[in-house]
């Protein structure tokens, strides 16, 4: 029994700001003070507040230390752990209210969250199976194997209203029952951990912070549909998640929670890992299965759906990581409990990865039906650097943007689809007035052009042409009629592509056109970028009233485009200017503007 537990985030965000080293030093320092029998250092998964990393929490007080550096460690150990005095200057500011110190769960970032999928992330040590078991881990599997029939399991999942969290929103229970209906000598349960949307990292956090929750859910799914083999297809870009999964699978096998005759019920189930190799299209189900089989990850037409003919031609179910992370809780607490959270047609919670120009970048889990305003302004702390909210982008390269007029929309699958955006896997990128919507559309298109597998002409050539048209517009060469051509090509690609990648690739263009058409018009007709983001359409200008003639800009200009005498107002020669922005960075008087 330890009197204090020091939790250090070992997620990818905090690891890249050196949390592994911080953990080592903490242990060292604690030992030096002779506290190693009383104080325990635990490496956990992600706490969610990645922008404040590396994060250290000390229990039982619940003191939340943010942006901890190696130099701070002796002070934390000496003051807090030895003398019991909380080091106030290192605490997360929002936990301090005058003299009182709040618990982390009372801060705006956490208060509105409801953690089901992330329940154990940042709480347990993901590399110790006993910690998961202590949090009711594997008791859902035990309950299913000893008390429930497979069809009862499926019924509970159906009744819960759980829908696929990977983006499509297909009812999970229905998917399972389709696979259960098909008789076959072998069936498979697969997990889609090929989280490819730029800006989304909830699956990674679940796998890093609570890998057993996914293993347990897959075993439950296996029992429900009659499968004995599972595969987790995970992207190789997530080395920490891969390692923790390997450890988790090994530990589960050792305790007999995977393998032969689990819980003495006669049920066999085992799981293998398969690593992706960096193909976004492999997030599409038929491509993913092709990739597990060792082929090029190209999609194939459906039907037959994987529930009928999937991996190696056998009935297969494929669910996303976050979907699986909900399963054990639904089994333990019942369908009614899960039903009670969320909106009419979208039940439960959704994890969002907040990114872009927002104060608290990180991971949040909120009930379905939470408004965008609550997420951005209350939980996310508002737009960073005092900017003004312009739009939020959801669903990555397949999704769309939500303009400020929809800030009060209740977020669920159907509402987002209705306004031309989509839930997607849950990436939520906030953009402010300095973001150009045409430029953003071009960015996503460049991504899809790279990632199109090349099977369908509409997608392979269509997205390329679409990108070229956007480049023409942002390059200041747009002409009358270009916007209409863009639109018709978008619809052509949507209608003629085989898989979701092609069908949704034009969404970023269509949704920015829908809400920010005036920006496209400004680019095409006035050759002007209102946000000042498109390099070729911007100019730099010296403000005569602010310039004092210090010559710093002229001395730093790499191409000698700035002229002017000492103590006199300077000029930029736009014929020479390469728009690198060095002058603006160097000016101490804010006398240079980009327009």
């Amino acid at each position: 029994m330890y009197r204090s537990n020091v939790l250090v985030c070992g997620g990818t965000g905090c690891s890249s700001s050196n949390s592994q080293e911080i953990m080592r030093r903490l242990e060292e320092e604690i030992k030096k003070k002779g506290l190693d029998k009383e104080v325990n250092v635990v490496c956990t998964g992600c706490f969610g507040l990645c922008s404040l990393g590396p994060v250290v929490i000390v229990y039982p007080e619940g003191s939340f230390y943010s942006q901890v550096t190696l130099a701070d460690i002796p002070e934390i150990v000496e003051e807090h752990l030895l003398k019991g005095r909380i080091v106030k200057r290192l605490l997360y500011q929002e936990t301090i209210d005058k003299d009182a110190i709040h618990s982390l769960t009372d801060t705006p970032f956490y208060k509105k969250q409801k953690r089901i999928a992330l329940r154990n992330c940042g709480v347990i040590n993901p590399e110790v199976i006993e910690e998961y078991i202590a949090m009711d881990g594997y008791s859902a599997l035990g309950k299913v194997l000893t008390e429930m029939k497979p069809e009862e399991v499926i019924q509970v999942i159906k009744d819960s209203g759980l829908r696929g969290r990977g983006g499509g929103g297909f009812p999970t229970g229905l998917k399972w029952s389709l696979a259960a209906q098909n008789d076959a000598d072998q069936k498979y349960v697969c997990c889609n951990a090929d989280e490819g949307d730029p800006g989304a990292f909830m699956d990674r956090s679940v796998l890093e912070g609570d890998p057993h929750s996914v293993l347990e859910a897959m075993a439950i799914a296996g029992y429900a549909i009659g499968a004995t083999q599972g595969y987790i297809y995970i992207r190789a870009e997530y080395p920490i998640a891969v390692e923790r999964l390997q450890i988790a699978i090994q530990q589960a096998r050792e305790l007999g929670l995977l393998g032969k005759n689990i819980f003495d019920s006669g049920f066999d189930f085992d799981i293998e890992l398969r690593l992706g190799s960096g193909a976004f299209v492999c997030g599409e189900e038929t491509s993913l299965l092709a990739s597990i089989e060792g082929h090029r990850g190209e999609p194939r037409p459906r039907p037959p759906y994987p529930a009928v003919k999937g991996l190696y031609g056998k009935p297969t179910i494929l669910n996303n990581v976050e979907t699986y992370a909900n399963i054990a809780q639904i089994i333990l607490h019942g369908a009614d409990w899960f039903q009670s959270v969320g909106t009419e047609r979208s039940k439960g919670t959704k994890v969002f990865a907040l990114g872009g120009k927002i104060k608290h970048t990180g991971l949040v889990e909120v009930p379905m039906g939470t408004t965008l305003r609550e997420i951005v302004e209350e939980i996310g702390g508002g737009v960073s650097d005092g900017g003004k909210f312009k739009a939020a982008q959801t669903g990555g390269p397949s999704g769309g943007c939500i303009p400020s007029k929809f800030l009060d929309i209740e977020i669920d699958y159907d509402n987002l689809t209705e306004i031309g955006a989509m839930m997607g896997s849950g990436g939520l990128i906030v953009m402010d007035e300095s973001t150009c919507m045409v430029d953003i559309a071009e960015f996503f298109l460049r991504f899809t052009v790279d990632e199109s597998c090349g099977k369908c002409t509409a997608c392979r050539i269509g997205t390329k042409r679409l990108l070229e048209m956007l480049e023409k517009i942002t390059g200041g060469r747009g002409e009358d009629g270009d916007i209409e051509k863009l639109e018709s090509l978008c619809h052509y690609i949507k209608d003629n592509s085989l898989c979701a990648l092609g069908q949704t690739a034009p969404n970023p263009v269509l949704s920015t056109l829908q809400y920010f058409r005036d920006e496209y018009v400004a680019h095409v007709h006035d050759h002007h970028c209102p946000a000042g983001a498109c390099k070729e359409l911007t100019i730099y200008r010296v403000l005569p009233e602010k310039c004092i003639g210090c010559t710093k800009c002229a001395r730093n200009c790499p191409v000698g485009a700035i002229h002017g005498n000492v103590k006199e107002h300077h000029f930029i020669d736009m014929n020479k200017c390469i728009k690198c922005g060095v002058c603006m960075e160097n000016c101490k008087f804010d006398a240079i503007v980009r327009e």
Binding site: S17, A236, G276, S277, G278, G294, G355, T361, G427, C453
Partner: protein
């Protein structure tokens, strides 16, 4: 995405070949073993030149075009060698919004090569990578295992000079 194919001569060793054959012997018979074997092969050689693909195809008794098809499909399979220091810039949305493209441009300028290329002396190579999930630190660049967050264009030269 078009893959760049190496023009530098192949310099595989006997030990590497033995390692590769051992991997194939261990995994070869299983269903869907092509991808794991290619991943291991890349770990052994650092990249997958046609010479390595040919060895795998012959040893596994799989047509070379199938191995070639898989190697060229996935972006993590490299057909050019990596430098001693691989500089990687995250091009995820969050990083892009915060100026990753300018950082990448500066790196290319300093090293005199384009992404997916390796300098003649074999020291540096550049890759653009997909979101590495450190969005809170955007824009992010990495040099091998060292991560640099909130990078500005003016810091690029200093960072690279540490690896001379």
């Amino acid at each position: 995405m078009q893959k760049r194919i190496s023009t530098l001569p192949f310099q595989g060793t006997k030990e590497q070949q033995e390692q590769l054959f051992k991997v194939i012997d261990e995994n070869g018979g299983k269903n869907g073993s092509v991808m794991p074997i290619l991943q291991k092969a890349q770990e052994i050689y650092g990249y997958l030149p046609i010479e390595v693909q040919t060895m795998i195809a012959e040893k596994m008794d799989v047509p070379l075009e199938e191995i070639y098809g898989v190697s060229t499909f996935y972006s993590l399979f490299a057909l050019t060698p990596k430098g001693k220091y691989n500089v990687s810039v995250c091009m995820g949305t969050a990083c892009y919004v915060k100026g990753a493209a300018d950082v990448l441009g500066k790196i290319c300028e300093v090293l005199g090569i384009q992404p997916e290329e390796c300098t003649q002396d074999g020291k540096f190579s550049i890759t653009e990578c997909r979101c590495i999930g450190a969005c809170g630190l955007a824009p992010v660049m990495t040099v091998n295992d060292d991560v640099y967050g909130r990078v500005s264009v003016s810091e690029v030269e200093d960072i690279l000079s540490k690896y001379e």
